[in-house]
Amino acid sequence: MSPLSCCNIDFSYHKTLLLTDINLDFKPGEFVGLIGANGAGKSTLLQLLLGLLRQHAGTVYLNGIDIHTQKRRDIAKQLAFVPQSIELPYAFSVEALVAMGRNPYLGPFELETTADKKIIQQAMHETDIMQLKDRLVTTLSGGEKQRVIIARALAQQAAAILLDEPIASLDICHQIETLQLIQSLTQSGKLAVTALHDLNLAASYCDRLILLGPTANGLAKTVIADGLPEEVLTAENLARCFSISADIINIKGEISLANIKPIKHNNCDIRSTKKHAY
């Protein structure tokens, strides 16, 4: 059974249809990249899959059961989430923050057992933050914070982990490290669904890409392509969803984009509209 799936999802906000006809099915061990232009609905889709937003039609299934019939505590045992913002203004220690991942398993007055502590240590070990464990999260760099949040998600011991642009605010070295970390998780059998902006990194790390873009009538967003990077990143899709043209280089199935240029449409060329304005 698939850990996470959704069928016929429609979602509207303020009576405007944003996402329509989303049908997805995820398998354990997949590293799925969710790509699309700004406003294509990547974050919205992740929040729908988490049950944080409520769709107007269709159903999200977590382990075969409608997610909206499940308690948040039970959802948290199966599905972990790394949100986009990693603002941590309160001075918790790194270890205390990672320990919060055990919350769904503990009652209001229960302390962590030896088994819980072992899981916390393991999560910090996997994300390579053992040396930070007594530091306050307010003193960490962006890359370190991101690893701490991922460690917290790991401590939830969920079979699936969703990440909303986890590398957006990181330098290139930390971006690669974070993606390698997620990759190693999927190799151990977890499902990871990650919203990403960098198409080259998405192509080289993800097993499967899901491209969100405008529907044929242009009124809402939907899944344009879903499959291997080489199937998704085609010239036609790039033009349709990102308004770019690029040289698509395929070296033994490894896709990369070079010479990326914006395609100028008459109605969205900024310079030509400016000329008209002045």
Binding site: L52, R73, F81, E87, A91, F92, N103, I149
Partner: protein, 345 residues
Amino acid sequence: MLSKLPPTALLFTLLIGLFITLAIAGVLHGPADISLMHIGMILKQLLLNSVNQAVPDWQSSIILNVRLPRVIIALLAGASLALCGLVMQGMFRNPLASPSVLGVSSGASLGAVIAIYFGASLISAWAIPLFAFIGAGASLCIVYRVASTRGQTNVATLLLCGVAISALNVAATSLLLALSLSNWDVARMIIYWTMGGLDGRTWDHVLIILPIVVSGYILLLFYSKQLDLLLLGEQHALSVGVDVRKTRRNLLIISSAMVGASISVVGGIGFIGLVVPHIMRLLLGPAHRHLLPACLLAGAITLLGADLFVNHFFSQQAIPLGVVTAALGAPFFLFLLIKQRFILS
């Protein structure tokens, strides 16, 4: 920064010590001169239910019916205001959130003034607290409703809405006061009540505030982990299994009941709810399993301390208690902020 601070245990010992010392000082201290030996005998009578003829009746009446309820009310109201400030700051992740900023305090005041203006307070001693609950609850309900859409609360909208509701409540309170000026007896009662304070408080007031504050505190203890998680933000809390909507709703109900109870008994004393939680957070860090008991103790100490201070040094003038809490708390708060800024920079 933290390495220089005293360990948690030391701070709690200090707080408990101060709590007990001030409680005893509150019973010993007062305008009437009653000897220590007599006070001991009165308390012994109370506890052992024995009768001792050596103590005059007026003395035991002052101790049992004036000072003891006054001390208990000061402790409970201070604790309640500090706890509510802590909970509101934590659950909205905003240092500005407090009963007064979210319009809860002014709502409670308006409710109480309505009870006085329309004469309900003459019918029953419970009228003022009841109307204060309704006022606090209604204000909070409006503020929370306006700021939440689909289970998500926008904190900026929440604070702005709190300011708006607060202004409305204050305007309505002033209007009622202005209208009541033609009837001086009612106006005097309103003015006296809005000044707040601990004078003339009796066991009836203790009965109003005690059950609500004690049960409120016990309920809050169940939420200490969720409060920690809410500090990280709505999405973080949801992702580790906190039902944010339900948790916030329950916390709002508990805290507005506590604010309503304490405001109806001691009036508007705004500063404790803002400053005590901040100071405790600076000293103890953000974990609520430490902050909840610390704010309980520190809030109680602050209000009773302020009351003793006023009575000792300014017994001739009627200085509102809120003025003293602000005058003592603000400079200390500023000192801590500056100190923290220097260490962080």
